[in-house]
């Protein structure tokens, strides 16, 4: 009998673990404010039922389709599926979104930010941990709706086109997966409640893999959203440089420095451009300022490399060089 009770307790514990131990009060009313409607369902978000272990490709195809990229999940399998792990890793979903010309914005890890995206009409790719112990049950799904009154959320998940879950249960599985969530934005589109560093990291990833046009659209949107920040100007100037537009690049780096005089990257890059424009004296002045600001920080190595190259050119400025 005692053994029976023990098994019963363990079984109940297991059920509660999977149900996400829903002991908190209503959650969604706290996460929705006057600015966010109490009930949203993104009915036009398509559904791709997953095949074995391939919720990653299916969920990614869902958010990509919602951002205007038509792609079959099967076409994403060779890009994101790892046979040896029977699943997909987050960085590869991010990379595949970039590969389709979309800005893979990783959301700040807060539930109200998830809700805000859906309220703004953008479905959210979320990671969940559904199991425990030797069966962690990592899973990708797409959040497409919520109902604050009923305290429930709606997901495109696995083979369920319209999985309805209690907010508590969903949020517990999401929290256990490290609160990871991503939206795929069209270049130029801003997420709801945007975060500068996260947005710029997503946009700069496009630049880093050579998708310069899409990066440019995102940088321009960032420059409009955060006119008092230097980073979007730095990004636009780097793209001008990549196009071979040295004058435009110089103006952009200069604008970034006007906004943020302590910006090491903008000063380093402006020095390099000044050197190429035939202004070695101005370049030396700029790189010295960059070196002083870089200290032994993360960009020190890159700045030191530029400095030794620029110091080798002892000529004075040619005509038309900047006076500051």
């Amino acid at each position: 009998m005692a053994a029976g009770n023990l098994v019963r307790a363990v079984a109940c514990g297991l059920v509660f673990l999977l149900a996400g131990c829903a002991t908190r009060g209503p959650l969604l009313p706290q996460l929705t404010s006057e600015t966010v409607p109490p009930r949203v369902e993104l009915t036009t978000t398509p559904f791709f039922p997953q095949r074995d272990y391939q919720c990653g490709p299916a969920a990614l195809a869902t958010v990509l389709a919602a951002s205007g990229v038509t792609v079959d999940p099967d076409a994403l399998v060779p890009e994101v599926y790892l046979p040896g792990r029977q699943g997909s890793l987050q960085p590869e979903l991010v990379a595949a979104a970039r590969g389709r010309g979309r800005v893979p914005y990783i959301l700040p890890p807060r539930a109200e930010v998830l809700v805000a995206q859906v309220a703004a009409g953008t479905p959210v790719l979320v990671m969940q941990k559904l199991g425990a112990g030797p069966w962690p049950g990592w899973h990708y799904a797409v959040l497409v709706g919520y109902d604050a009154t009923a305290d429930r959320v709606l997901l495109r998940s696995g083979t369920d086109e319209r999985l309805e879950l209690s907010a508590a249960r969903f949020l517990t599985t999401w929290e256990r997966a490290g609160r990871w969530a991503m939206v795929t934005l069209r270049p130029g589109q801003m997420p709801a409640a945007p975060d500068l560093a996260r947005f710029m990291e997503a946009a700069a990833g496009l630049e880093a893999v050579g998708r310069l046009e899409e990066a440019g659209g995102a940088y321009e949107a960032a420059a409009r959203e955060w006119p008092d920040e230097a980073l979007p100007h730095l990004g636009l100037a780097n793209l001008a440089y990549a196009r071979g537009d040295l004058q435009g690049a110089e103006r952009g780096f200069h604008a970034a420095i006007q906004i943020a005089p302590a910006d090491v990257a903008a000063r380093n890059n402006r020095a390099e451009v000044l050197l190429q424009l035939g202004c070695p004296a101005s370049a030396r002045k700029e790189i010295e300022a960059a070196q002083a600001l870089a200290g032994d920080g993360p960009l020190a190595g890159a700045v030191a490399a530029s400095a030794s190259k620029i110091a080798a050119d002892r000529r004075s400025d040619g005509k038309g060089c900047p006076t500051n």
Partner: protein
């Protein structure tokens, strides 16, 4: 003479192919600038080429089609490559929820059939 000049032009063009502007200059990319504000380590000291090799090997070991490995590695940024190289085996791989739910269902079914629990009966 004409042929020779064509060869020279082609040689010059081919040499240029391998040297995009960003590579030969000491420019700091936007991503590097963003990461410098969020990460502490000296980005220049972390060997991106080494990380790329490690990821390539791990992809091969995990059964990625050899024809796909190069393009998958090329799609990743340096910091993504570094984090994958360091912790790919510990990273969560989102796969199938059905397997977990299936296992739990079987456990519950066995408990039900042996009379330990009674959750599938209608009230």
């Amino acid at each position: 003479m004409f042929k020779r000049s064509v060869v020279y032009v082609l040689c010059f063009a081919v040499l240029n192919l391998g040297s995009p502007m960003m590579a030969n200059a000491a420019m700091i990319g936007t991503l590097q600038a963003v990461e410098s504000s969020t990460r502490a380590q000296d980005l220049a000291t972390v060997n991106a080429a080494l990380a790329q090799d490690q990821v390539r090997q791990q992809f091969a070991a995990l059964g990625v089609d050899p024809a796909q490995i190069d393009s998958r590695v090329a799609a990743l940024t340096d910091s993504e490559l570094r984090s994958l190289a360091g912790q790919m085996s510990g990273m969560p791989a989102g796969g199938d929820a059905l397997a977990v739910i299936g296992i739990v269902f079987i456990v519950l079914l066995i408990l039900e059939l042996t009379g330990v629990i009674d959750i599938f009966k209608k009230a």
